[in-house]
Symmetry: C2
Subunit: 259 residues, 2 copies
């Protein structure tokens, strides 16, 4: 009963609404910025503070659940049994720090390995994309239709900058067959573009918390999401992911060199 | 007297306000899309209709002026004497068609070759960036401060997709020294990012109407804008342009291979 889709959806929307209000306030204050692996992998006090808050709210409402999250306040999750939440407190930290827009907060809920509910807030636009296969998809309170199954030539594609610039997997051949190449720099923002047909493909190396919420919603919208070698997504590992319309992912897999 | 900065600024803001209202209405209707040179160089009825409207309003108010514009309704301008307007009715046509956001309309006014007033509307956000050296810079009615003179490592850079992917002029070495790479696909939108410090450099092959308005404002904001070989901008030719903070343009010119 506590694992009801609608109830979890409402909980995540309410939680991200609170997180968004807080981050919009924070984004105008001076930030204390630390470094993780390198200068392009920033971690701010706000990432940590936000994750602590989200995780504690989840534990309060769903004490039986486990949490996989970016900043280290989650659980050591070994398998996907039961109710599992994936938390990315600030996705697009570089945009948060440098641009003050085009960043997101994301939470995905899975039950026994099956996608249940995804929720992503575009913080500065205060738009929450949420829902899943059972209850449908919404932006804030408005139900949205599935995007059209466009082909590569009909849409814009987004590929992580290092992958595109180095032409990893021959990805530039895919980009050249599209309407155009864009780099927005936040998986959460790009999942919003995919769900509304503004982009037709995204390819990047993603951690579980980067893709969990977007995967739930893109699959519910009839889109395709696979790892680079066309194998099923492993939710407990990082991997190179291709997500897009059915047609585009099929076209891309034919063109990409994966070995 | 008719060439007064403040008066021209007010005229352009009022004109772009009207254009923006019309394009926001159009962007939800079905578009008839033709092709210019290739499928990535779209021209819509809306480009043509919008340019006709802008040019006729300019001629009505400034009959002595000449117009350089994208879609062929302007004058054959041979030199920069007198009052010259540069018009790009829809900048980022691919975004207009595919995304319904991140496109702009731009007008730049020059007097005897000197930058006078620039005006760019981010159509979907209904934000007009406008002004010049004499009167200062504004977003809608709000005066804005000049962006900080950040260095390459401190900011995000935007480079046209074909140039970045092909590593023209060794531009990837510049990208790698920055905080990150973004591709927004509209010069007008990117000029807005530069003026607010959201990006610190833009490099692309630009026609006069692509750069006229942005050049006026970026120079007024203390930024640097040069052609790829570090020569002055020629407003009657297309050219590869680097625009950004003083520090970033200086760093970029040291790293780029221009011959």
């Amino acid at each position: 009963m506590r694992e009801d889709s609608k109830e979890i959806d409402a909980f995540l929307v309410s939680l991200l609404r609170t997180v968004g209000e807080s981050l919009r306030g924070d984004s105008i204050k001076k930030k204390s910025v630390g470094t993780k692996k390198n200068r392009n992998d920033l971690v701010t006090n706000f990432d940590k503070k936000t994750e602590k808050f989200i995780n504690s709210e989840i534990k309060k409402n769903y004490p039986q659940a486990t949490i996989v999250s970016e900043e280290g306040y989650g659980d050591k999750v070994q398998d996907m049994s039961g109710l599992v939440f994936f938390v990315d407190p600030i996705d697009g930290t570089m945009n948060f720090v440098k641009r003050r827009d085009d960043f997101a907060s994301m939470i995905g809920a899975y039950i026994d390995g099956k996608p249940l509910i995804g929720a992503i807030i575009n913080v500065m636009d205060n738009e929450i994309y949420h829902g899943g296969k059972e209850i449908g998809l919404f932006i804030n309170d408005k139900k949205i239709d599935n995007p059209k199954d466009l082909s590569l030539i009909e849409g814009l594609v987004d590929v992580s900058a290092p992958m595109a610039l180095a032409n990893k997997f021959n990805v530039q051949s895919v980009i050249k067959k599209s309407s155009g190449f864009r780099v927005y720099g936040s998986a959460g923002i790009i999942f919003g573009h995919l769900l509304t047909g503004k982009e037709v493909m995204y390819m990047s190396y993603l951690a579980p918390w980067d893709l969990a919420a977007g995967r739930v919603m893109c699959e519910a919208a009839g889109m395709s999401i696979v790892s680079i070698d066309d194998s099923p997504i492993n939710m407990l590992e990082s991997q190179v992911v291709i997500v897009g319309t059915q047609k585009v992912v099929s076209e891309a897999l034919k063109t990409l060199k994966t070995r």
